[in-house]
C-alpha cells in the first residue's frame, strides 16, 4: 500500500513539473510579453524594466531561476499589480473560490444524487421525463448563460418584492453565495444526475433489493438504506476531479457576480500576459487537481484491493 501511495505521489510531482514546464515554454513562445503597452516606452526604459523583472536573461536561465524559486514556494511579483506577490494573490483569492466551489459541489452532489435516484425510481414516468429534460438543459446550456439569466431573475424578483431577496452581485455575506454557487453547480449536478440514474437502475434490479422487498421492508427504508447507499459509490469516484474543476472553473461566475475569486486572476493574467501570475495560478491549480485525483486514487485503492495489485 505504501509503495502504491509513493508511486502515485511521485507521478503527481512529475505531472506538476510537466505542467509548469509546458506553461512556461508556451507562454514565452507566443508574441508579446507583459511589458507591451499601448503607449510604447523608450528602448532605455524597456531595458530597465527587463532588468527589473529578469526578462533580459535567456529564456532557459529564466526557466531554471523560476523552477528554483517555485521549489522555495516563491512565485514572484505580479507584473500588472506591481506591489503584490503572486503568493499573496493566491492566498487571498483562492479561499473565495474554494468556498464557492465547496458550496457548489455540495449543491451538485446533493441535488444530483437525489434527482438521479428519483428518475430511476420513476423510470419512464412523468418525473423522470421532466427531470431528464432539465438535465439535458443543464448539460447543454453553458454556465455564463445560466449566470446571466440568474442575475436577471434576481433583478426581477427584487423589483417585484420591493426588497433585496438576493444581492445582484458582490461578496461578503452568506447571501452573496447562494445564487453563484447554484449556477456554478448546475452543470455538475446535471452530470451527476445522469450518473446516479444509471447506477441506481442497476441497483434496483439486483437480487438484494428483491430480498429486501420480500422481507417486507418499507419502501422508504429500502430507498435510503439499500438503494441509495449502494448506488452512490460511482458518484463518489468523480467527486475528486469535480471538486477541483468547480473550484477552479468559476471564472465566468466570478465575473458576472463580481466575486473576488482566483478564477478571474487566472484568466485576466493570460490576457495581460502577466507571466508570474500565469505561472503561479497554473501551477497552483495543476497541483490542486493532481492532489485531488491522487487522493481519490488512494482512497479507491484502499476500498478496492484489485487496483493496488495492478
Amino acid at each position: 500500500m505504501l509503495k502504491y501511495i509513493l508511486k502515485r505521489v511521485l507521478s503527481g510531482v512529475v505531472t506538476v513539473w510537466f505542467i509548469a514546464t509546458a506553461t512556461f515554454m508556451a507562454m514565452h513562445a507566443v508574441p508579446g510579453d507583459p511589458l507591451s503597452s499601448e503607449k510604447e516606452v523608450s528602448p532605455e526604459i524597456r531595458k530597465n524594466l527587463e532588468i527589473k523583472y529578469g526578462l533580459d536573461k535567456p529564456v532557459m536561465t529564466q526557466y531554471f531561476i523560476y523552477l528554483g524559486n517555485m521549489l522555495k514556494g516563491d512565485f514572484g511579483i505580479s507584473f500588472t499589480q506591481q506591489n503584490r506577490m503572486v503568493n499573496d494573490i493566491i492566498r487571498e483569492h483562492f479561499p473565495v473560490s474554494a468556498i464557492l466551489g465547496v458550496l457548489a459541489i455540495l449543491f451538485a452532489a446533493l441535488g444530483g444524487v437525489l434527482w438521479g435516484a428519483l428518475t430511476a425510481l420513476y423510470r419512464n414516468k412523468l418525473p423522470d421525463i421532466v427531470i431528464m429534460f432539465l438535465v439535458i438543459l443543464g448539460v447543454a446550456v453553458p454556465g455564463f448563460v445560466f449566470a446571466a439569466l440568474a442575475q436577471i431573475a434576481i433583478v426581477l424578483i427584487n423589483k417585484a418584492t420591493g426588497t433585496s431577496v438576493f444581492p445582484v452581485a458582490g461578496w461578503g455575506s452568506i447571501m452573496h453565495m447562494w445564487v453563484p454557487a447554484f449556477v456554478l453547480g448546475i452543470g455538475t449536478m446535471a452530470y451527476l444526475t445522469r450518473l446516479m440514474r444509471s447506477s441506481m437502475l442497476e441497483v434496483i434490479n439486483s437480487d438484494f433489493i428483491r430480498t429486501a422487498k420480500s422481507k417486507g421492508l418499507s419502501a422508504t427504508r429500502i430507498f435510503f438504506v439499500h438503494q441509495l447507499r449502494n448506488a452512490v459509490l460511482p458518484v463518489v469516484t468523480i467527486l475528486g476531479p469535480a471538486i477541483a474543476a468547480i473550484t477552479t472553473g468559476g471564472f465566468v461566475v466570478e465575473l458576472v457576480f463580481a466575486i473576488p475569486g482566483l478564477g478571474r486572476y487566472f484568466v485576466e493574467a493570460i490576457q495581460q500576459m502577466d507571466y508570474t501570475v500565469i505561472m503561479g495560478t497554473t501551477v497552483f491549480y495543476g497541483a490542486f487537481l493532481v492532489l485531488m485525483v491522487t487522493l481519490v486514487d488512494i482512497v479507491y485503492a484502499y476500498v478496492d484491493p484489485r487496483i493496488r495489485l495492478k
Binding site: 523608450s42 483569492h93 433585496s164 452581485a169 478571474r264
Partner: protein
C-alpha cells in the same frame, strides 16, 4: 416501487429551496441622509503609486484621493489645486503653493514632495511607463534615457517649502493641464522610503492629499473612499463616502446592479445599450477622446506602402456608416481626422477653424486606384493581406466588417488576425501585419497628444509612416507657444495625413452610461479622470 407523494414533494422542496431565501437588506446605491454613493469599478486598480500608474481605473481612484498643483473644478475645468497661483511663460513656470494643503497625516504638502515625485517618474531605474509625460520639464528626457545620471539636474526646484520653480525643455502651452495629471502628483519622500516596496500596496500604505482618502481596499473585491477632513477645500465636498463594493468588467452585471439600485453609474457597451434603450432608461453620453484608426504598414515591400492602394481602400470606406452601423454606440463620431472634434483651436474648436476635407465613397474611382497600384507594384493580383486586430467582440466586429467591405468592393483577400491585446501590440510593433486596427486615448488637452503619434520618430508609429511635411510641422508646433503658429502647423499635419493617408481614421469614440437620478454633480472631462465624483451630492 412507490414512494409516497408527500415524500416526493419533500425532496423537490429540499432541492429547489435549499438556499433558503432570507430577506437580505443590501446597501442601496444612494444614501441621502449620510451622503453616501455606491459605485462599481470595472477592474481592481492595478497601481496606486501615482508616478507609476498608467491605467484609467487607478487614475480615477487616485484623482479622488490625491491632488496635483492644479485640479478639476465641478465643471471639469482646470482650477487651482495645491498651487493657489502661478506664473507661466515659454521658458518655465513658478507655482505658489497654498499653506493649508495637508497630507492625511496632518503634515503640510510642500514643494519638495513634487520635486521628489517628478524625479522618481523620470528615474530610469524606476522605469515608469508614463515618464514621457514629464518630458516638457528640462532634462527629463535626458535623465530618463540615461544621458544624464544626476537626478537633481531635472528642471524642477523647491525655492522654499511653498514655491516650486519649473524650467521647460521646450515651450509647453499645455503644461497646466499636465500639472493636474497623476504622474505629476506629489509623493512625500520620507513616507515613501519608510514604506519601501509596500508603498501603495494597501490602503494603509498610502498618504492622501485629495478630497477623499482610501480607507478600505480589499483586493479584487471592494474599496471605500471617505471624505478627507484634512483637505484644504473640504467645504466644497458634500459626499461623505464613495463606496465601491463591486469590481467586475461584465457590463451586463453592471447594468443589472444599476437596475437593482445598487450603483449610481453604469457604463454601457454596444450590447448593454440595447437593453438600456429597451427599458427606456435615460442614456447619457460623453466624448471619450478615443480615436480608432487603420494603421497601414509602410515598410518596404508591403502593398500597403503604395499610396494608390491606400486611396482605393479609403474610397470604399464610409466613416459615417461605420460610426452609425458598425460601432452603433450613440455619440460616436465618424473618423475624419486624427485631430479629434473636441480639441480647441485658436478661438474655436480646431476642426471648425481648420475643416478637414471629406472624401466621397466612389467604387469606380477605387477600382481605378487599384489598377494604378497594380501597375506601380508590377503585380497581377494582390497577395492575401493581414488585418490585425484585438479579439474583443466589438473590435473583432469592426475587423470583420472591414474584411467584408474590402473583399466585396475590391475583391481583396483579407485575413483577419485576431489577437489578445498584448499580442496585438507586440505584433504591431514588430511590423507583422499589413493593416492594424489601432487605438489611442489622449493624455493631455492639446492636439499634440494625437499629432505626435504619427511623427516618423515616434515609437508608437507602428506603421512606420514617414511624411516630411507632417514631421516638419510637428517640430514647428512643439517649439512654439503662439497658438496661431501651432494650430496652423497642426492644420498642415492634418492635410498631410489626409493626402498621404498615413492611417485611415475610423471613428471617435463615445462613452455611454446611465446615471442615478438622485445624484447630481458628477463631472467628466476628456483628459481628466472619469467619472469625477468629488463634487457629487445626493439630492432628495
Amino acid at each position: 416501487m412507490k414512494i409516497l407523494p408527500n415524500k416526493f414533494t419533500f425532496f423537490l422542496l429540499l432541492i429547489l429551496l435549499w438556499p433558503a431565501a432570507v430577506a437580505f437588506a443590501a446597501d442601496q446605491a444612494t444614501d441621502a441622509e449620510n451622503q453616501i454613493i455606491r459605485i462599481a469599478l470595472n477592474q481592481e486598480p492595478p497601481q496606486l503609486n501615482s508616478f507609476l500608474t498608467e491605467d484609467s481605473v487607478s487614475m480615477m481612484v487616485l484623482g479622488h484621493v490625491m491632488e496635483g498643483l492644479l485640479c478639476y473644478d465641478r465643471r471639469g475645468r482646470l482650477a487651482p489645486g495645491v498651487a493657489e497661483r502661478w506664473d507661466i511663460d515659454s521658458k518655465g513656470a513658478t507655482f505658489y503653493l497654498r499653506k493649508n494643503a495637508l497630507w492625511s497625516d496632518g503634515k503640510p504638502v510642500t514643494a519638495k514632495d513634487f520635486v521628489f515625485a517628478w524625479r522618481m517618474a523620470v528615474d530610469p531605474k524606476v522605469a515608469s511607463e508614463y515618464a514621457f509625460i514629464v518630458y516638457p520639464v528640462k532634462n527629463a528626457e535626458a535623465i530618463n534615457t540615461g544621458e544624464i545620471k544626476d537626478l537633481t539636474q531635472l528642471g524642477v526646484k523647491a525655492i522654499d517649502d511653498y514655491t516650486l520653480k519649473v524650467d521647460f525643455e521646450y515651450p509647453c502651452g499645455y503644461f497646466l493641464g499636465l500639472a493636474a495629471f497623476s504622474t505629476y502628483f506629489p509623493v512625500r519622500e520620507d513616507y515613501y522610503k519608510t514604506m519601501g516596496s509596500k508603498y501603495a500596496a494597501e490602503a494603509s500604505n498610502l498618504l492622501f492629499n485629495g478630497a477623499f482618502k482610501l480607507t478600505k481596499w480589499v483586493h479584487g473585491a471592494s474599496l471605500r473612499m471617505e471624505k478627507n477632513e484634512k483637505y484644504w477645500n473640504k467645504d466644497a465636498v458634500t459626499l461623505s463616502v464613495i463606496d465601491c463594493p463591486y469590481i467586475t468588467s461584465d457590463t451586463t452585471a453592471l447594468l443589472n446592479l444599476f437596475k437593482d439600485d445598487k450603483i449610481v453609474v453604469a457604463e454601457l457597451d454596444s450590447e448593454t445599450i440595447k437593453t438600456a434603450m429597451k427599458s427606456q432608461m435615460k442614456i447619457r453620453k460623453f466624448d471619450s477622446g478615443r480615436l480608432r484608426y487603420i494603421v497601414f504598414n509602410h515598410r518596404d515591400g508591403k502593398v500597403t506602402a503604395n499610396l494608390n492602394f491606400r486611396k482605393a481602400l479609403r474610397a470604399v470606406f464610409d466613416p459615417q456608416v461605420f460610426a452609425d452601423k458598425v460601432v452603433g454606440v450613440p455619440g460616436t463620431l465618424p473618423g475624419r481626422s486624427v485631430m479629434l472634434s473636441f480639441l480647441e483651436g485658436v478661438n474655436d474648436k480646431f476642426r471648425k477653424e481648420y475643416p478637414v476635407p471629406i472624401h466621397k465613397v466612389d467604387k469606380a474611382a477605387a477600382k481605378e486606384f487599384l489598377a494604378k497600384a497594380k501597375k506601380e507594384l508590377g503585380i497581377d493580383t494582390f497577395p492575401p493581406l493581414v488585418l490585425l486586430c484585438d479579439d474583443t467582440p466589438s473590435i473583432a466586429k469592426m475587423g470583420e466588417y472591414l474584411q467584408g467591405l474590402f473583399n466585396g468592393a475590391l475583391g481583396l483577400d483579407i485575413k483577419l488576425d485576431k489577437q489578445i491585446f498584448k499580442q496585438r501590440l507586440a505584433k504591431a510593433s514588430a511590423g507583422e501585419f499589413d493593416m492594424v486596427i489601432g487605438g489611442w486615448l489622449p493624455d493631455y488637452d492639446d492636439p499634440m497628444t494625437y499629432a505626435e503619434l504619427f511623427a516618423s520618430w515616434n515609437a508608437n508609429n507602428s506603421g512606420k509612416w514617414k511624411n516630411a511635411v507632417y514631421d516638419e510641422n510637428i517640430r514647428i508646433a512643439s517649439k512654439s507657444v503662439d497658438p496661431k503658429v501651432r494650430m496652423d502647423a497642426f492644420a498642415k499635419c492634418q492635410q498631410a495625413m489626409y493626402e498621404d493617408i498615413g492611417v485611415i481614421p475610423l471613428f471617435e469614440g463615445s462613452n455611454v452610461y446611465v446615471q442615478h437620478k438622485d445624484v447630481k454633480g458628477i463631472s467628466r472631462s476628456v483628459t481628466g479622470f472619469n467619472p469625477n465624483y468629488i463634487y457629487a451630492r445626493v439630492v432628495k
